[in-house]
């Protein structure tokens, strides 16, 4: 089990990571989620032993790792852009960690084949890494990190360098591989879809601190504060009252069985307002196609407020439209 407590990392006058406490249980995948520059990569590098902390401890199973150098920590590391060894072929890359641990050649071959099978690149042993596509390179990087059976896998924005369709596919594959391998992992990402796909638990980081930790569902539905909610896609905040699992605000009422009773703030993502036959009335300003929906901008009659909403099909700007609240796009803030 990884236990980080009171960890602080500074670059000169800049405090990149500030008194962070975080734990990763055996077999758990924890995502460190936050905007770029929030210190999440630095935290990961400090866990790896690549950044010296000015305060705090990194412990594994109660043992302090302060004096354990990178290469003795037994942690696997995957970078955003693979960082494969260009002078070695695929097998040479995957077997690298095994060679460092003096695994006999025969066992190395078996393990390499096993790992390539796992990441969906069976038979790629003799391929040059420079000839692989971006997605294939990341798969090899993952196999390379997993091969020596690391105690902890550290993934630094593992999918960010890939294009979107590939990223979504690989995120699913990666989630599967992590489950099969039973890996304990710490994933750094700025993409909440990625975090929620991969992780058992999500830690949201901002300005060097962890502001919220919890299961993906909980973080998604009940962000700790407005900034976190904003980072998770909420653009509109409205006061509301929850009574008997029904939240009521100026735009209407909606059933939220999981919401705590009393006065709350509702955070609305664009998908919280949906085009409907009747409901809140407004005038359509803009309509833009997204991949699987249409994004609308609507000026509400009653409040003259401009809000984001979604629809199944495009509408003509200038039209009168009606919107209803959709519980799946709502977050509840204290």
């Amino acid at each position: 089990m990884l236990a980080v407590s009171g960890l602080t990392v500074r670059y000169g006058p800049l405090t990149a990571v500030s008194e962070v406490d975080v734990e990763v249980a055996d077999g758990e995948v924890l995502a460190l989620l936050g905007p770029s520059g929030c210190g999440k990569s630095t935290l990961l590098r400090a866990v790896a032993g690549l950044e010296p902390p000015v305060a705090g401890t990194v412990r594994w199973d109660e043992k302090d790792l302060a004096d354990v150098p990178v290469h003795r920590r037994g942690f696997g590391l995957v970078f955003q852009d693979g960082q494969l060894f260009p002078h070695r072929d695929v097998a040479g890359n995957v077997a690298f960690g095994l060679r460092m641990r003096h695994v006999p050649a025969e066992d190395r071959r078996t393990r390499v084949a096993e790992l390539l099978e796992l990441v969906g690149l069976a038979g790629y042993e003799r391929r040059k890494v420079t000839e692989l596509s971006g997605g294939e390179q990341q798969r090899v990087a993952l196999a390379r990190a997993l091969a020596p059976r690391p105690r902890l896998l550290l993934l630094d924005e593992p999918l960010s360098a890939l294009d979107r369709a590939l990223r979504e596919q690989l995120a699913m594959d990666l989630a599967g591989v992590l489950r099969v391998a039973g890996a304990t992992a710490l994933v750094v990402t700025h993409d909440h879809d990625e975090a929620f796909t991969l992780a058992d638990r999500v830690a949201v980081m901002r300005a060097g601190r962890i502001v919220q930790t919890g299961p993906p569902d909980e973080v998604w539905r009940r962000p700790a504060d407005e900034d976190t909610a904003r980072f998770l896609g909420c653009g509109l905040f409205l006061p509301a009252v929850v009574h008997d699992g029904v939240a009521t605000c100026e735009l209407g009422s909606v059933s939220l069985p999981w919401a705590p009773p009393g006065d709350v703030t509702l955070g609305l993502r664009p998908s919280a307002l949906r085009l409907a036959a009747d409901g809140i009335a407004g005038k359509l300003i803009r309509s833009v196609h997204r991949r699987d929906h249409v994004r609308l901008q609507v000026r509400l009659d009653e409040t003259d407020q401009v809000v984001d909403a979604v629809a199944g099909i495009a509408e003509t700007p200038g039209d009168r439209v009606h919107l209803t609240l959709d519980p799946t796009g709502l977050a509840v803030l204290p």
Partner: protein, 530 residues
């Protein structure tokens, strides 16, 4: 920010790094700084330095030194640019051959070049010196500029053309400014080489035309005017530090620039007016061949046979064959030494850069100093200081290789450093995370990736050591004379047989050089300066 963070690392531990730095720095201190300081002090103690600097003759010397170096630099840049274009921007067949041909002059012994130009231009004179120095350095300009030009994104030029700029206008307003750091860096190095060039000036200038370098030699060896020599050495040292600093600044700008742009597929078949540039480049290449060919054609069978003997009426104390043997042995030792020291220095410099140590430029420049300080000063300094060292170095066969290594090490650093700097730090971190300790990381990542440039550095170092003349002529005893020293002696003595033998020896050096350069081209690496 993440990117900036990723560049940081602890790398080698400070203690290991210090130990590693001590070896090349210690070598530099004992075999360069100390002798130079000793000779300067000797001169200063005698007094009269200011008096020497006040004479009009000295400033005439400075004037000629600067003028010939500036002229040669201008010629080298003008001749080098079309060749750089040819190498970087065209995909014509036979470019490999062009690369070999332009490199041959750069590594030819200076005596050989001097001799070749004396054969071509018997009148000698300032122009012969300018042309000969430029001849040496076209490769430096062409290779340095081509190195950047290949990495330059061609789309900036395409954008300028699309905005209505003509081809020449595009070159002057887009391409040339982008190339400026490389041209500046190359020009600084070339100026340095030309200002301190020794063998060429000695042979072509005769008694009439002298530069600071040959004057230091003359005053030290023949007039025993140490205070005068020290004054001139100080003057030269100041100029060299200035030129190196300019070069270092230009280099830093270029290495940053290289990181920003990826290597683009920029070589095309030339079109329209570009053919004119190609023709110019080919003319330059042809002209570079003229002195070499004239040397080779002058070597006769009689000359080759004479190589086994001692020259006309025993001009040499050893046979030509012994001189060859001395040359090969000394160059081998010097190369081993220089590659070891140069690699250590490069590793230290890379680690310093990585840890953002501010004085890294200073250390970098310090390692370059031996290139620019008068070989004569260093050589004479050795004679003073070496007696104070344990062991009998003055008569040791290691003396010549030590001096040659001093000249070759900066070259090794200039070849190795850009390659080591181009290795992504996270590659080393990936290896470390997989269980490789600091030395294992070095062995598994740096060595394989920089291995080819290490070979290149060794091969270049070898031919440069083989042709080194200034310091060697000072330190080699008659029985340990190398081939260039023997050649200089042969042409300073009367007798047709001596000339014949000198031409044959020159041809031999040319052949060895061509062979080594051809091998280097086979293992060429895309980054690096020469």
């Amino acid at each position: 920010m993440d990117q900036r963070v990723a560049q940081r690392s602890r790398g080698l531990r400070p203690r290991g790094l210090t130990l590693l730095a001590l070896v090349p720095l210690g070598f530099l201190a004992v075999f360069f700084v100390w002798p130079v300081v000793a000779i300067l002090r000797l001169g200063l103690d005698e007094g009269g330095v200011l008096a020497t600097l006040g004479t009009g003759e000295v400033w005439r010397l400075v004037g000629f030194t600067v003028a010939q170096a500036a002229g040669a630099t201008a010629v080298a840049v003008l001749a080098g640019l079309p060749v750089a274009f040819l190498l970087a921007r065209t995909n014509l067949p036979g470019l490999g051959l062009v690369r070999v041909i332009i490199l041959v002059p750069f590594v030819l012994p200076s005596v050989v070049v001097g001799l070749a130009f004396r054969a071509l231009l018997p009148e000698g004179g300032g122009w012969a010196i300018v042309l000969a120095n430029a001849f040496f350095n076209v490769a430096v300009v062409a290779r340095t500029v081509a190195g950047l030009w290949t990495h330059l994104d061609r789309r900036a030029e395409d954008a300028a053309r699309a905005l209505g700029a003509s081809r020449p206008r595009t070159f002057t307003s887009v391409t040339l400014p982008a190339l400026a750091p490389a041209i500046g860096s190359a020009a600084a190095v070339v100026f340095l080489f030309c200002a301190t060039s020794f063998g060429v000036v000695l042979i072509l200038g005769g008694a009439r035309l002298r530069t600071l370098e040959t004057e230091i030699y003359l005053r030290t060896v023949e007039l025993l005017d140490l205070s005068g020599a020290a004054a001139l050495s100080l003057l030269q040292l100041g100029a060299v530090v200035a030129a190196l600093s300019i070069g270092a600044v230009a280099r830093r700008r270029r290495e940053t620039a290289l990181r920003l742009r990826g290597q683009s597929e920029s070589a095309r078949r030339p079109s329209g007016g570009e053919w004119f540039v190609v023709a110019l480049a080919l003319a330059v290449v042809a002209l570079l061949l003229v002195p070499v060919v004239s040397l080779v054609t002058r070597s006769t069978a009689a000359g080759w046979r004479a190589l086994t003997g001692f020259g006309y009426e025993g001009s040499l104390e050893i046979s030509g064959l012994d001189a060859i043997r001395n040359s090969l042995a000394a160059a081998t030792d010097a190369t081993l030494l220089a590659v070891t020291l140069g690699t250590m220095a490069s590793v230290v410099l890379v680690s310093l850069t990585r840890n953002r140590v501010r004085f890294v430029e200073v250390v970098d420049t310090a390692f370059m100093l031996p290139l620019g300080v008068s070989a004569v000063t260093v050589g004479f300094g050795y004679l003073i200081t070496l007696d104070l060292l344990p062991g009998d170095l003055r008569t040791s066969p290691l003396l010549v290789p030590l001096a040659q290594a001093l000249v070759v090490t900066p070259l090794v650093i200039r070849i190795m450093l850009p390659v080591l700097r181009s290795i992504d730090e996270r590659l080393r971190q990936a290896a470390a995370a997989l269980g490789a300790g600091p030395w294992r990381v070095w062995w598994e990542v740096d060595v394989p990736m920089a291995g080819r440039s290490l070979l290149t550095a060794a091969a270049f170092g070898y031919v440069v050591a083989l042709g080194e003349f200034g310091a060697t002529s000072f330190l080699a005893r008659p029985d340990t004379a190398t081939l260039p020293v023997a050649i200089a002696r042969l042409i300073s003595r009367p007798g047709e047989l001596n000339n014949q033998m000198a031409y044959a020896a020159c041809t031999l050096l040319v052949l060895v050089t061509v062979a080594v350069v051809a091998v280097v081209e086979r293992v060429r690496v895309p980054v690096g300066e020469f």
